[in-house]
């Protein structure tokens, strides 16, 4: 079992007693197979049961254990103590979100944005069961597959300074999901979603920093989705002038 110890510094915030967040240090015995999440679980079980953080799957699937680890947004279940030792592990709540308590952030803003992008297939025409399944070619699947891997972990939001500076920006994750549906051959609601893409809070807030794609644990490449849609939004804008008047849409 545990043969070494590592220092874990956690940014604590208990709204009922702390005026502002402060770091607290813990010494955690660890073995080579332990993740940062396991260190936090050890602290909660053995040292300090008041510590709050989110987690569920422990295998980089549920997207709930995102936090800043030594300054970078990471999934704590996918980050190993052995890779940080002998340095100190410094964990903070995900950047750019209000801290609810300790490592738990308020994510209402993202949930609201997720609703606004209509993250589900809206068929162009209603389809009945006897019409059978939708068929899709591998090439059609390839257009959106990578963007469908998003686990809503919010690491990309913590990596996006533009979202930090202006939280009305829809942001990388939700825009990647928006693109995932717009790029799906079964979907017919691109025009509705494009209004949000081109809006004040849409893709043009992005200045191609690109760190969101760097930190994404699922290789979604949200920066790519956002920037592809800049071109699409610009093309839509200019296409309006080419269409004859009164042709609708």
């Amino acid at each position: 079992m545990a043969d070494k110890t590592i220092t874990v510094e956690v940014l604590r915030y208990r709204p009922e007693q702390d005026p502002a967040p402060e770091f607290q240090r813990y010494q955690v015995p660890f073995s080579d197979d332990m993740s940062v999440l396991q260190a936090l679980l050890y602290i909660k079980d053995e040292l300090d049961e008041t510590l709050s953080f989110r987690w569920s799957c422990r295998m980089a699937i549920c997207g709930s254990c995102g936090m800043m680890i030594n300054g970078d947004p990471k999934l704590s279940c996918k980050t190993f103590l052995r890779d940080i030792h002998p340095a100190t592990v410094r964990v903070e709540a995900l950047n750019h979100f209000p801290i609810e308590r300790d490592l738990v952030v308020v994510m209402d803003d993202f949930i609201d944005k997720l609703e606004r992008i209509q993250p589900y297939i809206i068929p162009a025409e209603p389809r009945s069961l006897d019409q059978g399944a939708y068929l899709q070619t591998p090439a059609q699947l390839d257009k959106y597959e990578q963007f469908s891997s998003c686990i809503n972990c919010l690491l990309c939001y913590a990596a996006c300074p533009q979202y930090g500076l202006n939280p009305t920006f829809i942001g990388p994750g939700a825009l990647a999901l928006l693109h995932r549906y717009n790029a799906d051959s079964r979907d017919g609601a691109s025009a509705q979603r494009m209004e949000l893409v081109a809006a004040e809070e849409g893709v043009f807030n992005c200045t191609a920093v690109g760190y969101c794609s760097e930190v994404c644990p699922k290789h979604v490449d949200p920066a790519n989705a956002v920037n592809q849609n800049k071109t699409t939004a610009a093309a839509d804008y200019f296409a309006r002038f080419l269409k004859p008047k009164g042709s609708g849409k």
Binding site: E16, G71, E100, V106, D142, P161, V209, G210, N227
Partner: protein, 132 residues
Amino acid sequence: MNKRRPYVRPMTGWWRKNPFFIEYMIHEGTALFVAAYALVLLAGLVCLAQGEAAWNGWLGALRHPLAILFHLVTLAMLSYHSWTWFKIMPKTMPPVVLGGRRLPAAAITGGGLAAVALASIAALGLVWGMTR
């Protein structure tokens, strides 16, 4: 009483806190040199339109040691700008599918940098040939 009191952290100095952001800010900063050099060329064009004396004056000004230093610094800044610009390029464009396969990011960056190198050599050769 509501015990909730969400704490919002300030954004001050955000770009100093991560090497990735520092690189981004340097990249954005080097764009000023791109603009400055465009102005130098524009001044040359205006001088050319004004006649031979003005044109020779512009050429003379470029030979000043300070102008040469400016050129060297600008060359370094532009090289960094191109390198970081092409590095981010694969993230900014739709996938390029060649023969049913996606072109890897490294190929797009490499292709861009190769294009810069070729264009620079061609321009250098052209100027060299004209001035000899």
